[in-house]
């Protein structure tokens, strides 16, 4: 395990300005149907000075991912670098992963039989799926496989203020610590959402 990077997301709410760049970059990069937003930007306390803040939420690619645990058909698999992926051919669209997910990440398009809910779709950290790497089939089902190309996932790469950071846990933690330190405002133990996602 240690040989590989452990990929994590971190959204800096001091920097996130709800520009929706990440969300649209993702929609666009993977050409998602309109009903799907793999990544969402959420603002709390809008309009209240001193209290408003925004953050970008998507699949966090959790350690011991609960979605993977509850899936009744075992369609999930976790790569050694921690990226949680799933097989759309196996998925039955039951929605259990959504119930298990603390981050509300799994999405369900209305493209199943008779316009019913189809199989689950979620952030792949731009790592595609089980189909052949960079094949047309993979792109159609899961979107781009930027990780295979050695590229940064689209949302973080296009984040306007570099609030959204992705990468190896060590690197992300470093960025986080640097920012906390330079702001000089007390040290939070870990980035927002990490204790839920990564149990540390």
């Amino acid at each position: 395990m240690s040989e590989y990077a452990r990929m994590k997301f971190y959204c800096d709410d001091e920097r996130c300005i709800e520009c929706n760049g990440c969300s649209v970059a993702c929609d666009e990069a993977h050409e998602l149907p309109v009903g799907i937003s793999r990544r969402k930007v959420i603002t709390l306390n809008e309009g209240i000075f001193g209290k408003e803040f925004s953050t970008s939420v998507a699949c966090m690619h959790c350690t011991d991912a609960p979605c993977e645990q509850v899936c009744p058909v075992d369609c999930f698999y976790i790569r050694e670098d921690g990226i949680v992926l799933h097989d759309k051919n196996t998925c039955i669209g039951c929605g259990y992963c959504l119930y298990a997910c603390p981050f509300g990440a799994p999405q369900f398009p209305k493209d199943g039989a008779f316009g019913t809910r189809g199989v689950m779709d979620k952030c792949t950290m731009c790592a595609g799926g089980p189909e052949e790497t960079n094949s047309a089939k993979e792109r159609e089902l899961y979107g781009q496989n930027r990780i295979a190309e050695g590229k940064v996932p689209m949302c973080a790469a296009m984040c306007s203020t570099k609030a959204l950071v992705v990468g190896d846990e060590q690197e992300v933690s470093k960025v986080y610590r640097e920012r906390v330190a330079s702001r000089g405002k007390g040290v939070q133990s870990a980035p927002y959402g990490w204790s839920t996602a990564y149990k540390n």
Partner: protein
């Protein structure tokens, strides 16, 4: 923008008036946030609405719309009183500050608080925070300009910076965030009714210079106009062109010129300018409408005109190449990505083709052939070089196509914070921010910076208005010339006459023969080259004018908006007298303001602004499903308290009525970002007019994914006294449940 976005990271304090970079320039705002992290810079926001920018601010003042001048005077009052101003700087480099000081004395914190609606304590807190942290940068955008006193606003803001000595400093300056991608470039090229490219005026001299530079006969050019007088007469503006059509109708503003019959629009969302009802009426009354756009220009949807409305598919900027000037005066080269899609044609192709049909094609393109006496031109490269050859006023000489392309190819070789180049780009700043005086010049990342030599971007203030006024020297004081200058003091703009004296050089006879009359028309570029060697700014080194003696208000004065919620203050700060022949149309001021107490019937302030997912009239963004889904409907931000008074529920429809009798039907969206005395509406929607859905009027397959009421149907009458920019940020309205 005097500085640039990366330079904001050098600021120790950032004050933002009427701008919302977090929404309008998100990537630019990243630099603001970095300033906060790296420099512990305080971000101060003064805005009628708690914007996304304010959400990241340390201090925020919810100002009453249209009272920026009182607020800034309130700041100046405290600055002068506490002696926080830079006395040396003012003495050497500013003209007329004493009168500003006198006016500022009146604006005590109490007085300011009363007018602006911001508490006295907060004004003091903000001023202290801002004045004490230098360098501080001052940011503004449309929130400051779109007022009847917009031009005064934009003068007082730099005055604050001058008083604090923040001009010409890294991390300081007045940084105006332009809207569209190439507002700066298009403005520099002066698609404006009162200037020629490069801000050359409409005088006979300017026309003569251009006729010569375009390689056409001046008399031919003159013959194209109605007469020589009209050649030097300002035209109608985008803001009020409708008056030119509606002239003569009862109740309409009188015009001074030919009534308009034909409209040719290329890439302009005229459904997003104020007085939409009038715009619609004007469109209906035209004989010919031509709209060239990649998407349907919604003017075609708005109008009831049944015939002779042409829509031409124009290519996007990704289907052509050329340069684009960013907000910081940097030029970037756009390479063509794909060929124009479908049957669309590039903008210039359409213009060239029409010029052929109208019979002036040869004259039109001749300027591109002149430099090397070519037979054929390549667009845009030869046009870029043509511009570089002609435009001296803002120093575009250095912007050759070759250099701009090299910058683009090497954009990774520039520093984020200073824009300074490395390696092959050493000695140049990214995009060669103008003035870029010569083909070897580095570009000027920070305007009016005297800490660096002219050839590395240094300069003083421009000498433009004579050498003295009322017996006061207008040239800069002793020792305030840019670094390494042959002349350490103030000096006049460089002409053929004074060049030898100011630079302390002697020209050869050959040079004397070639040299132009002055630096603005010196196509030989000898003046600029010599100036660089001597460390002299060709445009002189003068004082900045705090007082503009030719303006209606020589120093900026507060005047209430035409529709003010404070009738008591209207008496104290009345607007201007009506202005006749303002860009060919009579423009009303006092007569509107005094017509009645508007605030009785229309008690709510109406503010408009942008959304992050849309820009301009919004057509190109609403045509994207991903962007349209973020805001599927036109809405109105309304405080729950206000909504409750009117029985309006969250997510339900409401009407907004304007003093002009127009109305729009929009969805109410509860928000605390506005107080209960104002509402906010975004201006990107069109396709619905006063409650009537016009979506069946789109040609098949061209309707955007979302349509809505245009905010500018209800923005109030009112135009800036100098520029005729419409007052969209300081009007009144009445609301009711729909």
């Amino acid at each position: 923008m005097t500085n640039h976005l990366g330079d904001i990271q050098n600021a120790k304090a950032i004050i933002i008036f009427g701008a919302n970079p977090a929404v309008n320039h998100p990537v630019g705002f990243g630099h603001f946030l970095k300033a906060k992290e790296r420099n512990n810079a305080q971000i101060i926001v003064v805005d009628p609405r708690m914007t996304k920018t304010a959400a990241k601010a340390d201090l925020y003042a919810q100002i009453r719309p249209g009272t920026d001048i009182p607020f800034m005077y309130g700041m100046l009052h405290l600055i002068f009183k506490n002696g926080w101003h830079k006395k040396e700087f003012i003495k050497d480099r500013v003209f007329g500050m004493d009168e500003v000081m006198k006016e500022a004395e009146k604006w005590t914190p109490e007085k300011t608080a009363d007018v602006t609606g911001v508490s006295k304590e907060l004004i003091i807190q903000i001023t202290t925070a801002y004045a004490k942290a230098t360098p501080g940068t001052l940011i503004w955008a449309m929130g400051l300009t779109q007022h009847t006193i917009g031009s005064s606003n934009t003068r007082l803001a730099p005055i604050v910076q001058l008083a604090l000595g923040n001009m010409g400093e890294e991390g300081g300056g007045t940084n105006i965030l332009r809207g569209h991608d190439n507002v700066q470039g298009a403005t520099d090229m002066c698609c404006l009714s009162h200037t020629l490219p490069g801000y050359y005026g409409l005088s006979k001299g300017s026309w003569g210079y251009f006729a010569k530079s375009w390689g056409v006969d001046f008399d031919w050019l003159k013959g194209r106009f109605q007469d020589e007088k009209m050649m030097s007469t300002k035209g109608y503006t985008l803001a009020k062109w409708y008056s030119g059509v509606l002239a003569g109708k009862p109740g309409e503003d009188k015009i001074h010129g030919t009534p308009l019959k034909a409209l040719f629009v290329m890439g302009n969302g005229i459904t997003s300018i104020s007085q939409q009802a009038k715009v619609k009426e004007a469109l209906d009354n035209l004989e010919l409408i031509v709209l060239a756009d990649p998407f349907v220009n919604e003017a075609a949807i708005l109008t009831d005109k049944q015939d002779d409305v042409f829509i031409l598919p124009a290519a996007t900027q990704f289907e052509t190449s050329g340069s684009v000037t960013a907000t910081n005066r940097s030029a970037q080269w756009r390479s063509k990505v794909v060929d124009p899609m479908y049957e669309s044609k590039t903008d210039h192709e359409i213009m060239f083709d029409l010029a052929k049909k109208l019979g002036f094609y040869d004259e039109y393109v001749k300027g591109m052939l002149m430099k090397e006496n070519k037979k054929e031109f390549t667009f845009p490269e030869d046009a870029t070089d043509e511009i570089a050859r002609i435009i001296k006023t803002i120093g575009l000489t250095g912007w050759t196509a070759e250099r701009l392309k090299k910058h683009q190819e090497n954009w990774h070789m520039f520093d984020e914070v200073s824009l300074r180049g490395f390696g092959p780009m050493k000695g140049e700043y990214y995009g060669l921010p103008w003035p870029c005086w010569t083909e070897g010049h580095s570009g000027s990342p920070v305007l009016y910076d005297i800490h660096r030599p002219v050839k590395e971007g240094g300069m003083g203030f421009r000498n433009r208005f004579g050498l003295e006024h009322d017996g006061v020297d207008l040239l800069a004081g002793k020792g305030s010339a840019p670094a390494h200058s042959a002349n350490k003091d103030g000096y006049a703009e460089i002409t053929a006459k004074n060049i030898e004296e100011v630079l302390g050089i002697t020209l050869t006879a050959d040079e004397k023969a070639k040299i132009g009359k002055n630096w603005k028309v010196d196509t030989s570029n000898i003046i600029a080259e010599k100036c660089m060697e001597a460390g002299i700014a060709p445009y002189g080194n003068a004082k900045a004018r705090a007082k503009v003696w030719t303006f209606p208000d020589p120093i900026p004065m507060h005047r209430e908006p035409l529709h003010s919620p404070r009738p008591d203050l209207v008496k104290e700060y009345p607007t201007y007298a009506d202005k006749p022949n303002h860009y060919r149309t009579d423009t009303k001021y006092a007569s509107v303001q005094n017509e009645k107490d508007w605030s009785k019937e229309f008690p709510i302030n109406l503010i408009t602004g942008r959304l992050v997912n849309l820009n301009g009239a919004g057509m190109e963004n609403r045509a994207s499903k991903y962007l349209a889904k973020l805001t599927p409907d036109m809405f109105c931000d309304i405080h729950p308290d206000l909504a409750y008074e009117h029985g309006i529920r969250n997510g339900r429809m409401m009407w907004i009525h304007s003093p002009e009798g127009t109305k729009i039907k929009v969805k109410a969206k509860f928000s605390y970002s506005v107080g209960s005395d104002r509402v906010f509406i975004p201006f990107h929607f069109a396709g619905v007019f006063q409650g009537k859905d016009l979506s069946d009027r789109y040609p098949e397959g061209t309707a955007p994914y979302s349509t809505g009421e245009s905010a500018n149907t209800v923005t109030n009458y009112g135009y800036d006294i100098i520029t005729q920019i419409p007052e969209t940020k300081g009007g009144l309205c009445r609301i009711e449940k729909a």
